[in-house]
Symmetry: C2
DNA sequence: CCGCCCATCTGAACATGTTCAAAAACGCCC
DNA sequence: GGGCGTTTTTGAACATGTTCAGATGGGCGG
């Protein structure tokens, strides 16, 4: 996350300059091959300045992620509003993230290395990223609510979080998908999304009650 | 992996001394809080010596993993031989790994950070770890072969690798499972293992042929 | 025993993320 | 405008993973 510095216009401008320099270099050479000295130099500040605005090199990646979240906040509700079909809505939410991340795969690989450890300060599963995670999950709740597919009450509470985890898994696969244009991810998304929507539909059939309860119980326990 | 140094007894002894020192310190303080200088000092060598035997700090973790694999090679076939029941066999293979790793959770977290990136030299999914991965997968093939549960021919080829991935997922969950004594992992293992065996049994029913083929095709494609 | 080669080992040097004390710039009150 | 407290910026210093040119020493042919 970002330190709450940079309230004055000038400071804010410096912060942006550093972040822009960092992201440009990350994209160009990758995370590991970009040094903090490079970033500072490109932003025309001393090495230490970056640490005045960002707690660590990794926080710069997080700041990128926060920017993406800002953008999503403006766009996603409108995307969801375009259809009431659950599958289309989910597709829209997921595709939006893929588009945002398209040009930053190298960068996000660094983020994954951090994120896999839930104890790390910046893990998407950790405490500090709660607001951003919550917002992402909220998008899925929006997509479910008042969609044309009926979702059982007892699923409503946890389904958004499950869908978020599903999205995370897709993104993870996508990051390391070396097939041309990440074709395999497209395949995987198409196949599994269909499956997911089917499962949700099935789960509301009357006979499914007990099974659904067992699944919900397991999910809660874990 | 390990550099092919240490052919003379004396060198071999030095190598072991460094590895022992490293593992002791990793376990004591964790990976990040152990410096190469600490390790060298504890092993009574100069800092550079460690790099004569190990290409990097991370390679020391890998050497631990290799040791564990050595041990498994001696033990696992016997464990599998104790029963023909598929579930029991799988349990045995999986539990053996858990027991081995019990006291080294902190260490393995470092390994995961590396391993999540398939492009990293030491990723369990990468080229360089192929032999060790192959051996682990082979254990699952052993467990399937001549077990009391019939496994369809077209599954035999890929099932061991799938089971290995399943094991990896369990280990990942276990690593970050903070419930007392990793009780949740026990729950998860029990629940999913039952499920897995059921699925395998189901898959050999006559009607399942087409569905099975679709799943196999998807797995192959991905 | 000598001299040579090569595996082994040393420790200083290097690169880079990070910290920190001090300097500079800024805003504000008088 | 001058003084003063705060914010911003600087650049040297530090910690640590890693590299490398050279020292060490042990074995072997002569």
């Amino acid at each position: 996350m970002v330190i709450a510095r940079g309230t004055t216009p000038k400071a804010e401008e410096t912060r942006e300059r550093i972040l822009d320099a960092a992201l440009a270099l990350f994209q160009e050479r990758g995370f590991d091959d970009t040094t903090m000295r490079d970033i500072a130099e490109k932003a025309d500040v001393a090495t230490g300045a970056a640490y005045y605005y960002f707690r660590s090199k990794e926080d710069l990646v997080m700041a990128f992620y926060a920017r993406a979240a800002d953008e999503a906040r403006d766009v996603v509700p409108e995307l969801i509003g375009r259809s009431r079909d659950l599958k289309k809505r989910l597709r829209a939410v997921i595709d939006q993230k893929f588009e945002q991340f398209e040009e930053h795969r190298k960068l996000l690989i660094a983020l994954v290395r951090i994120g896999i450890d839930p104890k790390h300060r910046l893990s998407p599963f950790g405490k500090e990223t709660e607001p951003m995670r919550g917002e992402s999950i909220e998008f899925f709740r929006l997509a479910i609510d008042e969609s044309s597919t009926n979702v059982p009450k007892d699923l409503r509470a946890d389904l958004p979080a499950l869908l978020w985890m599903y999205q995370m898994a897709l993104i993870l696969y996508w990051l390391f998908d070396d097939s041309p244009n990440q074709k395999k991810t497209k395949l995987l998304t198409d196949g599994t999304l269909e499956l997911v929507v089917r499962l949700i539909q099935l789960s509301s059939l009357p006979l499914m009650g007990p099974l659904r309860k067992r699944v919900v119980a397991l999910v809660r326990a874990i």
